[in-house]
Structures are given as structure tokens and as C-alpha cells.
């Protein structure tokens, strides 16, 4: 147990085999910003915010800490000039989708990011995959998934499944860092099972 020894921000830390750098840091109370990480879910590496600098046998590289396995004798720096610059750009790119997401607004202040640096995208989903992964991995309902790819990638409910299970669950709603998930749900509901929406309204829910 705890037999991997390495360094984060000058502090010697230990990790068990299979642990990621992020997990080791969190165990020690060292903060690394994350957006797509969730302790109940498999690492995803989607948002790239948790990027850190790793020095390994004299080589410096930049890795995504939530999927990077802890290794013996590496030196991790959670902040450096370059890390900060990379993070700033990542925040700016995410803000092209979701300029009002509270987490991003806070981070933008910290890293001096300009929300208007990149052209606005019509969709405010940032593809963190929290909703999709939670539905599949924890709720086990598979009511929502990704469709398409690249810049056209979107989340999408499977209407038939959503109509049956979502109204009694909605556990993924608070996970969404933007409000896209709620919007997508209302949209799906209005198109595919409007009756449920009506009952909900008249019941004053």
C-alpha cells in the first residue's frame, strides 16, 4: 500500500499502484482544477483542465493528471508559467461554448482568461461526458449518449428510454457544469413525450 513515492509541488506523496496523479493529489489535499472528473466515474480526460507539468528523469512533459498514472520519482507541478498559460487557453476554449458556467467563470478570474477570445459556439455543452457516463456507469439506465463526432459531437437522449426513466431519476442534472443537459432534456421531452411535461406542470412540480 502506498508504495509509489513521488513529489507534487515540492511535497513528497505516496500512491497505490493504479492511482492517478490527480487521485494522489486529492488524497493529500492538493488542489488541481477539474471539470470532467467525478469520483464515482471512470477517468475520462475530456476537459483537459487538470493538466499538470511532470518531470520524469529530466524530461518535462504536460499530462492530464486525471488519467496519468502515478509513477515513482516523478516531480509534478500543478502550477507553473506554462501550465497556467495552457489552462488559460483551455478555459477560453470551453468558454466559447459556455461563457456563463459558474465553474468556468470562477476559473477565468483565477487564470485571467478572456471569455470572448474565441468565436461563440451555438451549443453550450462542453462535452465533459458527466451526464452520459453517470447514466451508463452509475444509474445504469443508458438514456443519454453521445452522437456524431468532432465539432458536431452532441449529447442526445434516446427518447423512448428517456420517456420511461428520466422523470423519476434526473440524478445527472446537477452534475452538468453548464445548463445544457437540462435544456436538452426539456427539448427532448417537448418533442417526444410532451404529456409527461404537462402532468408535471399541473402537479406544480
Amino acid at each position: 500500500m502506498g508504495d509509489i513515492k513521488f513529489e507534487i509541488d515540492g511535497k513528497t506523496v505516496t500512491a497505490d499502484p493504479g492511482m492517478t496523479v490527480l487521485e494522489a493529489a486529492q488524497k493529500e489535499g492538493i488542489y488541481i482544477p477539474t471539470l470532467c472528473h467525478h469520483e464515482k466515474l471512470e477517468p475520462f480526460g475530456g476537459c483537459r483542465l487538470c493538466i499538470v507539468e511532470v518531470e520524469d528523469r529530466g524530461w518535462t512533459k504536460y499530462v492530464v493528471s486525471c488519467v496519468f498514472p502515478a509513477a515513482k520519482d516523478i516531480i509534478v507541478r500543478t502550477r507553473s508559467e506554462k501550465v497556467d498559460r495552457l489552462r488559460k487557453t483551455i478555459i477560453e476554449l470551453l468558454m466559447a461554448h459556455a461563457p456563463d458556467a459558474p465553474d468556468l467563470v470562477t476559473l477565468a478570474k483565477e487564470y485571467n482568461a478572456d471569455p470572448n477570445r474565441y468565436e461563440r459556439s451555438a451549443s453550450f455543452c462542453i462535452h465533459c461526458g458527466l451526464c452520459v457516463r453517470y447514466c451508463a456507469e452509475v444509474a445504469g439506465k443508458n438514456a443519454i449518449g453521445f452522437v456524431d463526432r468532432g465539432i458536431n459531437k452532441e449529447i442526445s437522449f434516446v427518447p423512448d428510454i428517456a420517456a420511461q426513466v428520466c422523470n423519476d431519476c434526473k440524478e445527472c442534472f446537477p452534475l452538468c457544469p453548464t445548463s445544457y443537459l437540462q435544456a436538452a432534456f426539456v427539448y427532448t421531452q417537448a418533442l417526444s413525450f410532451p404529456d409527461a411535461a404537462k402532468t408535471e406542470q399541473s402537479a406544480g412540480k
Binding site: 447514466c135 451508463a136 443508458n142 449518449g145 452522437v147 456524431d148 463526432r149 442526445s156 428510454i161
Partner: protein
């Protein structure tokens, strides 16, 4: 496409979830598109969530979630074909079939797509119908070639 046919394809691949992609390709080939019923059946028999199937079906261009025509017309608009007048060929096809790229006509006769280089630039402008290459096309030749398809 009837469910029995879908079942046959699934059985041919031993109902293995790891053969999902191949099964979807076979259905696409047999039926020209992936219907909701067919995909629901695959999901049920293979115990693979529909969300995953949906992701795959929208990820690859080889799949279509809407019905496709009997004949697939691909007009090359790659650089070489473009400078040799691919736009006029495309216009001719659009006029003759009444559909734009990405569309299928009401009789399910033609589906039209543009592609970026079919790998035979010397034959440009190129039209490909159901895998058969028609090279050095002119608007007149194009209109004539389309008439030969039923």
C-alpha cells in the same frame, strides 16, 4: 427490413457484442439504412445499450439513419475534379434527380453525396454510381448515364 433478417445477421455473428460494428455494417448493406426497429433489435439481442449503437451509427459515414436510394451517386468535388468542372456535373445531377447532396428522392431511386477525391484524378471529373466509376464526365454524358439506372 423484417426482424427475421436482422436476427439472421445477428446469428451469423453468433450474437457477439464484439461483432457489433460488423452486424451494423451488414444491416446497412442489406437494407441501405439502419431503421429504429433494427437497431432496437440489435440492442436487445446483444445487450448493448442503444446509446452506444446510436453513437456508432452517427460516428461513421458508412451508416445512415434515414432510408437511402437504390443507387448511390457520388460526385467527386476534390481539387482535381473541381478544376475540371465538377460543379457543373453536380448541378446536372441535382437537376436530373431533384435532390441535393445528402438527400434521397421520394421514389428511393437515387441518393446523392459529394466526396473529396476518389483516387482517380486523371479521370476527372468523376461520378461514381454504386461503386462504378464514370470518368471524364460532361453534363450531357452525366444526364445520359443517370438515365440507364432503374
Amino acid at each position: 427490413m423484417d426482424i427475421e433478417k436482422v436476427d439472421q445477421i445477428i446469428d451469423k455473428h453468433n450474437g457477439e457484442p464484439s461483432n457489433l460494428l460488423q452486424i451494423m455494417l451488414d444491416i446497412q448493406k442489406e437494407n441501405n439504412w439502419l431503421s429504429k426497429q433494427a437497431l432496437a433489435r440489435v440492442s436487445e439481442k446483444l445487450s448493448v445499450p442503444l446509446t452506444r449503437i446510436q453513437h456508432i451509427a452517427t460516428f461513421y459515414k458508412a451508416f445512415s439513419l434515414v432510408p437511402k436510394g437504390r443507387h448511390k451517386v457520388h460526385i467527386c468535388v476534390g481539387t482535381a475534379c473541381h478544376v475540371r468542372g465538377a460543379t457543373r456535373i453536380l448541378d446536372t445531377v441535382e437537376d436530373a434527380t431533384g435532390i441535393k447532396p445528402g438527400e434521397t428522392d421520394l421514389d428511393l431511386k437515387f441518393s446523392l453525396e459529394t466526396v473529396n477525391c476518389l483516387g482517380c484524378c486523371a479521370l476527372g471529373p468523376v461520378m461514381e454510381v454504386d461503386g462504378k466509376v464514370h470518368g471524364k464526365m460532361s453534363p450531357v454524358k452525366t444526364a445520359q448515364a443517370l438515365k440507364t439506372y432503374e
